[in-house]
Symmetry: C2
Subunit: 585 residues, 2 copies
């Protein structure tokens, strides 16, 4: 967004009273790198118009020496992961002082293509709390045309060129097709070139990548990455030329590992991102303020931590003429807080209006109803089709979860058998996992084993299943697995857990990804579901729905499952289909 | 310039040998804020393709542990001020490790409009040493349509829109018409809006501006400024939202005053600029390396000083995908130097080619002849017309020079008289100054007095006379003044000093601004001219030609002369015509 041209010139020049003046601010000046004492900030319309003692306001607020800093920026988040609509997300994030997110709408795009993205853009428009900028999803599906999975949408260069024209699009979203980059895939390079020619950024996605492959990605123009899980990995990316987004999401928590990367000379290349954040986490821990708080607690000077959350992402995405600092012409997105330690706002101003005060969000969002088609079209198999005949003398392969990470390991185990079939076993911490194609009603499905849920009975499942969002269900019996899938189908998408005839549900009818209810309701349902999984199903893995939802993503090492079967993924490599049984007993 | 798309992907991935590998580099990494030890840098064509131990080169250079840093960037320079053509400037700057300049071609534009700018762009193209990016001159003439001076060219919104299309144009050049901004002049605002909509930067020019007027300029979208002469002035600009260019030119030297501005949190908003740099200074002191050296000597960490000369301007001007750091895909513009104290290169690589080594520049510039029309069309008055009748009982007004600054003061003095005419007086340090219109042959001229040259006899003059570049001559007799103007006319532009029939000349036939000779010749002629001014004319002011050339610029306080007379300028105000005589004796 560029500034509203020149409307408040006279207010800026103190020839006319501004709409609002904040008095006695302790201004966190991310531009000059100082705290300015006892400053007045003048606001007209949705813009800051002037800073200094010369301004009068129609309304004045004495902030009494509290700190005033720019609204925080999340440099990379898939808003769909919050399961909330954008006005509802904005309402929650405002409490924590977030005013801007860069979102990659690739979840909804995988389900509903451009219609899904437009739905998000339309609901973002004037939501009252949050500036929402978009990166155009570069990899929908994650890997196209290779039989790895059945996908719901395809965004080729033509659709990306449509997106590129939007004033809300600031770059090409996380380029996950690293093999395509390394091998010079013409379609992938075409996408990069189109965005580069428009001077938009190219956001990357290169977990565990280093060496010549990393050099190649950067050579081809990838400008940033949020996938670093290890300090040396992040350091190499930063050194070689990527802007590094330090990610702390619900499933992927890299902040502690990456904090030592920050030094006094590199803050202009480092920022914060959530990537995926479930609503319970968002409500419980906060948002970017939570990352800034921990960064400051680690010993980084508050100014520097705030710059990473404001000026750096604003500059990187070419938005620093509108956001990221408090200056005349900027959007009036300001946070007023009592200290630079907890980063818990007393007041939040968005577009010049007070939107959070005394613990209350002051909703001003338009409740215009927007339309998106129902998205679930699934043909479920019968129970017998899910059975896995055991292979004598062979070990079975399982996807092994790593708590707190989206990476998985490949492990082998000797399966329990029943009637000649390999079956889940609580004592081995092995469950069965199935993926059901749900976009085209093709009836395709994949079956495999997973290690690490700690499940003892029943099944849990989700139509949130990255990135193609087929229906994924993990369970201890084929009957419960199918019942769970039916529950999800009957809600037109959502998450469910079943055991016999007991069931808990979280309906997500918007694309099978998002709720149309408010944050508190969604969190309550999520909590009930999660308690059911723990208490009834015996699940011991923390955040099991999040872990489940990433088990289909065929670009993250080491083992994944899709509706087409089980695949092994090496860093930077194409998925390789593998059988359940392999190796000698 | 964007990168050459994807040509060297295999070289980046270490699948093929690179053209050149630099071994054992001590890499100054402005991205991660570190010095990396013992690094190899691979180059193919004109790009860096990879960094790390994996690369083989067709050619290899062992740099033996010396420092390798990115080529320096001058964030704002009028290249015409060097009096050299661009290939010749590039050859000289290469010795000092400059690889990129952002130039505002507003001198040549004031003389020759778009033809002049195209001449500079054409000579810049593939010059072999230097990346030249342009800002589009926003104020040609400095103040249009108000009778302050006769100008040679007019760049309105239409011509600026032509310029905006050029891939070499990165912004709108220093917006000097601050009164136009403050008063909301529609033409001025139209220019800003056009460039903002293209996401190009708006470079400002706001000497001594602060308070609501400064807030207004920033509100309207001015992103940077290089005119700060005082620390608190620069601090206010930085705090309120301008990128601050610390200027150290030939006439304007602000480095010492502004160095205390730099802190550990604001390097992303500070850079270096020369603005105007005469060839003698360029050859004697160096270029941006001279500023970096002094910044480090002041106590700023070398990494930070280098960032101000590389990454910050590259990022500000949207060029950081090509220049400003050493990374795969960047232009291979590298400097190899033995220490981070003197910043005197041993070797310089430009676009992958060694262009400076062992004190020798290795010219590869194309000597294509480019065409620009002769520019001098002047009708000189007769001697009597220059006489100034004295006014009984009144003090005369003089422009008083401030050594080392382009600001002037207004002073009053009791003039010596001869035959009823007020005349120059060496004992009062007062000379006469005349400006002769030279674009249209109109015969217009202005006459005034100046204090501070220390001249005793003769006259000196120049067709370099900001910004309209009429002919300005300062002298102690009307006969010498006219003879000096004739000498300049006869060279088709240039600088001259005369006393009776003695004369020294520096021909500047390209627009009356630039020489077609090499740097050494121009410097030798400039030195002879300067020695003549000191030895024969008695001039005591340092750098008198530079001081003279700014005396016409009607946007800098406090007093100026044009072909239309003498004008008083308040900060941010329109020029006000004043008489030579005013006040009681």
């Amino acid at each position: 967004m560029r500034q509203a041209y020149f409307k408040y010139r006279r207010e800026a020049n103190a020839e006319r009273a501004a709409d609002l003046v904040l008095r006695h601010c302790r201004l966190v000046n991310v531009l000059s790198g100082e705290i300015e004492e006892d400053v007045s900030i003048a606001i007209s319309g949705f813009q800051v118009v002037g800073i200094g003692p010369w301004y009068e306001g129609e309304q004045e607020i004495d902030v009494g020496g509290r700190y005033v800093y720019p609204g925080f920026v999340d440099a990379h988040i898939h808003l769909e992961s919050t399961k909330l609509t954008i006005p509802e997300i904005g309402r929650v994030m405002a409490r924590y002082g977030t005013s801007t997110v860069i979102t990659d709408p690739h979840e909804i795009a995988n389900v509903a293509s451009l219609d899904g993205i437009a739905f998000q853009m339309d609901t973002a428009s004037d939501n009252g709390y949050l500036n929402v900028f978009f990166t155009a999803p570069s990899c929908v599906p994650a890997l196209a045309d290779n039989g790895v999975e059945t996908y719901g949408a395809y965004l080729g260069p033509s659709k990306l060129r449509f997106l590129m024209q939007s004033p809300w699009v600031v770059g090409l979203g996380e380029v996950m097709n690293v093999p395509g980059l390394l091998n010079g895939d013409a379609k992938v390079l075409r996408k990069l070139k189109d965005f580069q020619e428009r001077h938009l950024v190219i956001d990357g996605h290169a977990p565990l990548l280093g060496g010549p492959a990393l050099n190649t990605c950067i050579y081809l123009g990838v400008n940033s990455d949020h996938e670093s899980t290890e300090l040396e990995e992040a350091r190499e990316k930063l050194r070689r030329g990527m802007h590094v987004m330090i990610r702390e999401g619900s499933s992927e928590k890299n902040l502690d590992a990456l904090l030592p990367l920050i030094n006094e000379h590199n803050v202009s290349r480092l920022m914060f991102a959530s990537d995926d954040l479930d609503p319970t986490d968002l409500m419980a821990r906060g948002h970017i303020n939570h990352l800034v708080r921990r960064t400051v607690a680690f010993g980084v000077p508050a100014i520097r931590a705030i710059q990473m959350a404001t000026l750096t992402p604003a500059t990187y995405f070419g938005l620093n003429t509108s956001i990221g600092a408090i200056f005349p012409g900027a959007l009036a997105d300001l946070v007023i807080a009592p200290d630079l330690e907890h980063f818990m706002p007393d007041m939040v101003i968005h577009h010049g209006r007070l939107v959070y005060h005394d613990g209350q969000t002051l909703s001003s969002c338009r409740s215009t109803r927007r339309y998106l088609k129902p998205s679930i079209n699934v043909k479920l198999p019968n129970e017998e089709a899910l059975a896995v005949p055991s292979v004598s003398g062979k070990l079975a392969r399982a996807i092994s979860l790593i708590p707190g990470q989206i990476l998985t390991n490949e492990v082998f185990f000797k399966p329990k058998t029943k009637d000649g079939m390999a079956v889940p076993s609580a004592s081995q911490n092995i469950a069965k996992v199935c993926v059901f194609e749900r976009h085209h009603g093709s009836g395709a499905f994949g079956v495999g084993f997973v290690h690490g849920f700690g499940m003892t009975q029943g099944a849990m499942g989700s139509s949130v299943a990255h990135d193609s969002h087929n229906i994924i269900v993990v369970g201890m019996s084929d009957a419960d697995i199918l019942q769970c899938a039916r529950e999800i189908r009957n809600m037109d998408g959502g998450q469910a857990a079943v055991w016999g005839d007991r069931v808990e549900r979280l309906p997500l009818p918007i694309g099978g990804l998002m709720s149309n209810q408010d944050a508190e309701t969604v969190v309550a349902l999520e909590l009930k579901l999660s308690e059911f999984c723990a208490a009834v199903l015996g699940v011991t893995l923390p955040n099991p729905m999040a872990a489940l939802s990433f088990m289909c993503l065929p670009v993250i090492p080491a083992l994944r499952i899709t509706d087409q079967g089980v695949f092994r993924i090496a860093p930077g490599g194409y998925p390789e289909r593998v059988d359940i049984f392999e190796g000698q007993a």
